[in-house]
């Protein structure tokens, strides 16, 4: 069957702001929003959007569907009986059509030192029990799609806020039994753009396509930040 999809188009060379344009697409029970965008691109090769894996692991194809952040490849037309409007991810600058500037997101990720910090040298693997792995495993499943930033009202107000994914990644390493870098990461998390920027709306966890639960990570980060503060009071 045929469905109408409205797409927010924007060409920086000619447009002052995005405009909705309607397209007809063929839809069956398995048609994803990404499939629909690919159909539209056959009609109009100038449509811009990012995509690659089609299986919800590369994190490229985040868009707003009827105002909610979604992965295009994991969102299906069958779930939208009526109107479908697709626009670029909120809270990022739109570069062209559905393509946004992801640079602020990447800058925030890099700011939390998202790598194992451990000076110990060895040619053997660490031991890490399944229970130790389970402490951070969920937070290691973030695919960097950026949906949580589009869901986060604080990031919308203050683009300097580290945001859900970056705090989650910091937490992922802080909780890793092999890591000794928490002290190096805490100043960034303790700062005004760190964990305390979050007002615990929790929408980030609702939109996460991989059930990473960034809100839980941010909350744990607040606990860590508070104890970090208390400990620092007792230090000379």
């Amino acid at each position: 069957m045929s469905k109408t999809i409205n797409i927010a188009r924007y060409n920086p060379q000619t447009d002052s702001q995005p405009q909705l344009q309607a397209f007809q697409v063929d839809s069956d029970n398995s048609t994803s929003v990404l499939d629909a965008l690919l159909q539209v691109q056959q009609q109009d090769p100038s449509l811009g959007f990012r995509w690659s894996c089609r299986m919800a692991i590369c994190g490229s194809c985040g868009v707003m569907v009827n105002g909610i952040p979604k992965l295009g490849c994991k969102t299906f037309l069958r779930d939208y009986p009526d109107k479908l409007t697709v626009s670029a991810l909120a809270h990022f600058n739109v570069e062209k059509d559905l393509i946004v500037d992801m640079q602020p997101f990447l800058t925030h990720l890099a700011a939390v030192k998202p790598y194992l910090i451990n000076a110990e040298q060895s040619s053997q693997p660490h031991r890490q029990t399944p229970a130790q792995l389970a402490k951070y495993q969920q937070f290691a499943n973030c695919i960097n799609c950026g949906l949580c930033y589009s869901a986060c009202p604080q990031f919308g107000l203050n683009p300097e806020f580290l945001g859900p994914a970056a705090i989650t990644l910091a937490q992922r390493y802080n909780l890793d039994s092999r890591d000794a870098g928490k002290a190096a990461r805490m100043p960034e998390l303790n700062s005004k753009n760190g964990v305390w920027g979050c007002t615990f709306v929790g929408f980030c966890s609702e939109v996460c396509p991989k059930k990473v639960d960034p809100a839980a990570a941010v909350n744990q980060g607040k606990v860590a930040s508070a104890s970090d503060f208390i400990i620092s009071m007792f230090k000379p």
Binding site: N11, P12, Q13, S30, Q41, Q42, P45, S46, L47, G48, F49, R50, W51, S52, C53, R54, M55, A56, I57, C58, G59, S60, K74, E95, K96, D97, I99, M102, L106, L109, A110, K113, P114, Y115, L116, N118, S122, S123, Q124, P125, H126, R127, Q128, T129, P130, Q132, L133, Y136, Q137, A140, N141, I143, N144, L169, Y173, D176, R178, D179
Partner: protein, 598 residues
């Protein structure tokens, strides 16, 4: 035109490119390393690898065992010196990833857990649940952020290599966000651009896997080796081709035809092993070429089922139980639910073979060096000689790491030595490319990238599929020739500067057409059956060592087509023998501890 100077330029931000960049930076922190990718590195297709990475780990295992499995799996077309180097270094590379934080799955005591994989005689596949490639890629990407000498050029699309007097001088790229051409000069270039699975219609690959790097090197006269060997993964989802990992079978999943019969026992992989007791190198743990061929045979006999117009068989995981599935195969459960609406704990998954991996690629030596001085290639875009006629599952993730490191170190050593080249030739080359790109734009065009690409991928599926014959290959070749002529006339009708995906897709299609030509012509020239290349023609259905125990080399001719020549295969310690799986394996060369010195 903007011009930038770097020491080492890595093209491709997947596992191989990131590992190479880190190795280059570690080797000499004084070097400027540029990491170019047409996407953000964590979007690279390494991300979709699921099952795991192989390395000899258990006490019962041996380097000789991994060597034998790989050589026999390759149908004796692997470079045995390369395999020896690989099996020796794989373990240390997986440990390195562990030291960088990769969340490998563990045993109760905290040590590394390994799982069974197809064609491997014992458990040696490290895994991070069923998202191994994802975790490897993110671990490498995040680790690379530590290094201030690695400069990322995200969303830069390389359109040409800059070559002067058979030496590399840099690359010419389009900055996707602005549409501007940028020259990046350097003393060494490492191509790590991935495979070319997207020249086939049904594939497990992301949209970005278009063979760019292979074509870039090929257009400068570098040979593409063993291109006829294209791996069909036995278990993709019907229609989309989305990958359902071999680890499903490693964990004990079984394959059933439409009658619920475990058909693999009829194709030299039996006897049937009891459900819930997987046995290495038997039945579902046979190699990928044999399993995909068995599917084709079942389809010919009318024993496959139909799923919305696609022939399928079934992958049954029900006996593994919900808890085990959630622990070991959570992503598979998610994919099956999302894309075929099936809970693997309660129903079998419809699957069919889909193109997964290009065994062949840019010819390199064991140091990842190509025939152009300073140009290296690594990973799926390269043919260092590890996989021969058929790759074993879980060898390629380890390959990215082992040879990514080699490529990075070699490039770093070379970048210290090389003298500056006469760059006037570079300027001419860049101007030529600039003129070419400008000539591509027009207000209208009757033909489209989509139309040509669809015909290309369907022709490849039809002519260069699991089984091939002369008539089918010839017909594929004439389709390709017609498409190349159409491509010459094709124009880009979107003239916008920023993020012009129409232009990128146009250029990717040109790369794909070149690569497809090498696959088809190499397949025509190999008039025997070996590994993933199976011919139906009379007199060609068997392996023919006396005439074809050798690599094919596709070299570009002035008219743009490939000429095929041959290169001997390096055999160090395991002489060619018959390949056996299932009970036939006992006593055969691939199984015992015959003669390998590794």
């Amino acid at each position: 035109m903007q011009q930038l100077q770097q020491d080492i330029i890595v093209v491709g931000g997947g596992g191989a490119g990131l590992r190479a960049a880190i190795a280059a930076a570690d080797t000499n922190p004084g070097l400027q390393v540029a990491l170019l990718s047409k996407v953000y590195p964590m979007r690279s297709h390494t991300v979709a690898a699921e099952g795991g990475a192989a390395a000899v780990t258990l006490e019962q295992d041996s380097l000789a065992g991994h060597f034998q499995d790989t050589v026999s799996g390759s149908d004796w077309l692997a470079e045995q010196d390369v395999v020896e180097y690989f099996v020796k270094h794989a373990y240390q590379e997986l440990v390195q990833l562990e030291r960088w934080g990769c969340p490998w799955s563990r045993k109760a005591d905290g040590s590394i857990q390994v799982r069974r994989f197809g064609g491997m005689k014992t458990e040696r596949t490290w895994f991070a649940a069923d998202k191994t490639g994802f975790h490897i890629l993110h671990t490498l990407f995040q680790t690379s952020l530590k290094d201030p000498t690695i400069t990322r050029f995200d969303e830069y699309f390389v359109i040409d290599l800059l070559v002067v007097e058979q030496q590399i001088a840099g690359v010419l790229a389009i900055h996707f966000s602005t549409g501007e051409l940028v020259q990046i000069l350097g003393k060494a270039v490492i191509l790590a651009t991935g495979g070319a699975g997207r020249v086939f219609h049904y594939n497990t690959n992301g949209g970005i896997v278009t063979g760019d790097g292979m074509a870039l090197a090929y257009r400068h006269g570098v040979a593409l080796r063993d291109m006829e060997f294209v791996q069909y993964h036995p278990t993709g989802l019907p229609g989309s081709g989305i990958l359902i990992t071999e680890a499903c079978r490693g964990e004990g999943g079984v394959l059933l035809n439409k009658d619920g019969y475990r058909y693999l026992q009829d194709y030299g992989l039996g006897p049937e092993t009891p459900v819930g007791q997987p046995k290495n190198k038997y039945m579902e743990l046979g190699p990928r070429d044999k399993l995909s061929q068995a599917f084709w045979q079942q389809q010919q006999r009318g024993l496959t089922a139909d799923y919305h117009g696609h022939a399928v068989v079934y992958l049954d995981l029900r006996h593994l139980g919900k808890a085990h599935l959630a622990n070991r195969l959570p992503f598979i459960c998610e994919l099956a639910k999302s894309y075929v609406n099936i809970d693997p704990a309660t129903a079998p998954i419809p699957i069919r073979p889909a193109v997964h991996y290009t065994m062949g690629g840019i010819l390199t030596d064991i140091n990842c060096q190509t025939s152009i001085a300073g140009l290296f290639a690594v990973g799926e875009c390269a043919s260092v000689g590890l996989h021969g006629a058929n790759r074993l599952g879980s060898n390629s993730l380890s390959e990215l790491l082992v040879f990514g490191k080699v490529a990075g170190e070699q490039a770093a050593a070379l970048a210290l030595k090389t003298n500056t080249l006469p760059l006037s030739a570079v300027a001419t080359q860049c101007t030529r490319q600039q003129t070419y790109i400008s000539s591509l734009f027009a207000d209208s065009c009757d033909d489209t990238v989509h139309a040509i690409r669809t015909e290309l991928t369907l022709a490849m599926e039809q002519g260069c599929g699991i089984y091939r014959d002369n008539a089918g290959l010839q017909s594929c070749l004439s389709t390709l020739q017609a498409l190349k002529i159409r491509y010459q006339q094709l124009k880009v009708t979107d003239n916008s500067k920023a993020y012009n995906s129409a232009l990128l897709q146009h250029l990717e299609l040109g790369f794909g057409l070149d690569v497809a030509d090498t696959i088809c012509r190499s397949a025509l020239a190999r008039t025997e059956s070996r590994g993933a290349h199976q011919r139906l023609d009379e007199g060609m259905t068997q392996r023919n060592d006396s005439d074809f125990l050798k690599h094919s080399l596709a070299i570009r001719q002035p008219d743009g087509s490939a000429a095929i020549s041959w290169q001997p295969v390096t055999i160090t310690s395991l002489p060619p023998a018959e390949r056996h799986y299932g009970s036939a394996e006992r006593g055969s060369a691939g199984s015992g501890s015959t003669g390998s010195s590794v």
